[in-house]
Amino acid sequence: MVDFKNVDFSYGEKAVIKDLSFTVASGKNLLLFGPSGCGKTTVARLIMGLEKPDSGVISAPDNVSVVFQEDRLIDNISVLKNITLPLCKEKYAFAKQLLAEFGLCDIAGKYPPSLSGGMKRRVAIIRAAAYGGDVIILDEPFNGIDKENINTTVAILNREYTDKGKSIILISHNKKDAEYFGADILELG
C-alpha cells in the first residue's frame, strides 16, 4: 500500500507538491496525470525514497520497482546482466522467461548502445518486472514502443502485479493509459 498524508515538497523556493493526500491500496492501480512540471515524477521519487518530503507522512513498501522515464541501462554490461543485476540467482530463469515473452531472447548478450530506443525501453520494463516488488512505478513506460509491444507489456504487468494483488503506479500524459491497468486517476497540477 502507498499512502500520502498532507505531503508538501519543494525544490528550493519552488513548491512542487502542496498538501497532497492519496492512498493506493494493495491490488489497486493508479495513474498520475497532469501537465509537464506538475510534480508527477516528484511523487514517484518520493514513493521510491529518492526525495524526502518537507512535511507530511509517506508510507510505501520497501521493495518498489521502477521503469524510469529514461531507460537508465548500463552501457558496458550486457542486456541480460542489466536485467539480472538486481536479482537473486533464483530469479534468473524468470528474467529469461520475460525476455522470451517480449521476443528479445536474441539480444540477451548484446550491449545497450547496439539496441534501438524501443528495445532499450522494453529491457528497462523487463528489468523492473523481473525485480518484482509490491509496487511498480512506470514513468512514461510506452515511449518509443509500438502497439503490439504495448499490449505485451500491459499483459505481463497485469499478470505479475494486478492479478497478484500488487500495485501499479503509472505516470503518463495520456489519460487513456489508465484503461490498460484499470487504474484510478489522480490529476495533479
Partner: protein, 256 residues
C-alpha cells in the same frame, strides 16, 4: 572494410615517404662538417638493422621495455586506487588531491633530478614512469566518480544494488571508458618519461644509456636508430593497448 584499411595504410606510407625525402634532401644539402649530425635516412635504417644483430641491443630493448611497462602498470594501479579513495572519501580527497596536483605539475626533468638523489638508477625509470602516469589516471578516476551519473546511481539505489556488486557491475562499467581512454594516452607519456630518465641516469642495460653512449661517441646514426627504436616500441605498445580496447568496444557497440 579491408579496402578502407589498405587506403589508410597507403596514406601513412605516403606520409612516411614524403618526410623521408625531405630528410634525405636536408641531409644532402647540409654542409659536410655538419653531415654527421644529420645522417641520411638510408644510413639510419641501415644502422637500425645492424643493431638488430647485436645481443646488447635486444637486452637494452628488453630491459627498457620492462621498466616502462612496470612503471606504467604501477602508475595505472596506483592512479586508480588513489582516484577511488579521493573520489569516495572526503578525508583522502583533502590529503591526497593536493599532492597529486603537485606531482602532476612538477616538470619531468626536475622530478628525475630530485628522485635521483634517493632512488637507485636501475629502478628510477620505473618510479618516474609511475609518477608521470599516476596523476593523470587519478584525475580521471576521481572526476568520473565525483561526477558519477546520478540517474544510474538512483537506479542502483532503488533496485538495492550495493557493495561489491555495485562496484563491479555499476561503477566500474560506467567509468571505464573515460579511464581506459586516459590510460591509453598515458602509454606515450610513460615511454617519453622512461627513456628521458634512462638518458639522465644511465642504468646499466638500457636504451637510454645506449643513446647517451652513442651521443658521447658522436655516433649520431646510432642516436637516430635508437630514437627510431623508441618510437616503434612506443607505437607498438600503444597499438596493442588500443587494439585490445577497440575489440572490447566493437563487441559492445556492434552486433553484440
Amino acid at each position: 572494410m579491408r579496402s578502407k584499411t589498405a587506403k589508410k595504410l597507403i596514406k601513412v606510407l605516403l606520409a612516411i615517404a614524403f618526410w623521408a625525402v625531405v630528410w634525405e634532401a636536408a641531409s644532402f644539402l647540409i654542409s659536410d662538417n655538419l653531415k654527421m649530425f644529420l645522417p641520411s635516412p638510408v644510413i639510419v635504417v641501415n644502422t637500425f638493422f645492424r643493431l638488430f644483430g647485436k645481443s646488447t641491443f635486444w637486452a637494452a630493448v628488453f630491459y627498457s621495455f620492462l621498466r616502462v611497462f612496470e612503471g606504467f602498470a604501477l602508475g595505472v594501479v596506483c592512479g586508480i586506487i588513489a582516484g577511488i579513495l579521493t573520489g569516495r572519501l572526503k578525508a583522502f580527497d583533502i590529503i591526497l588531491s593536493p599532492a597529486m596536483q603537485v606531482i602532476r605539475a612538477v616538470p619531468v626533468v626536475s622530478f628525475i633530478i630530485l628522485a635521483f638523489l634517493f632512488i637507485r638508477v636501475d629502478i628510477l625509470p620505473i618510479v618516474v614512469c609511475m609518477f608521470m602516469v599516476m596523476p593523470i589516471v587519478w584525475q580521471t578516476v576521481n572526476d568520473e566518480l565525483v561526477g558519477f551519473d546520478k540517474g544510474i546511481n538512483e537506479m542502483a539505489e532503488v533496485f538495492k544494488v550495493k557493495g561489491f556488486k555495485k562496484l563491479l557491475f555499476v561503477t566500474v562499467p560506467t567509468v571505464s571508458d573515460a579511464v581506459i581512454s586516459t590510460i591509453l594516452s598515458g602509454a606515450g607519456l610513460a615511454w617519453k618519461s622512461g627513456i628521458a630518465t634512462e638518458v639522465l641516469c644511465a642504468p646499466a642495460v638500457s636504451i637510454g644509456k645506449s643513446l647517451l653512449k652513442a651521443k658521447n661517441l658522436l655516433n649520431f646514426d646510432e642516436v637516430y636508430a635508437f630514437t627510431l627504436t623508441v618510437i616503434i616500441l612506443s607505437m607498438v605498445f600503444e597499438f596493442l593497448l588500443k587494439y585490445l580496447y577497440s575489440r572490447r568496444k566493437a563487441r559492445r557497440i556492434g552486433n553484440g
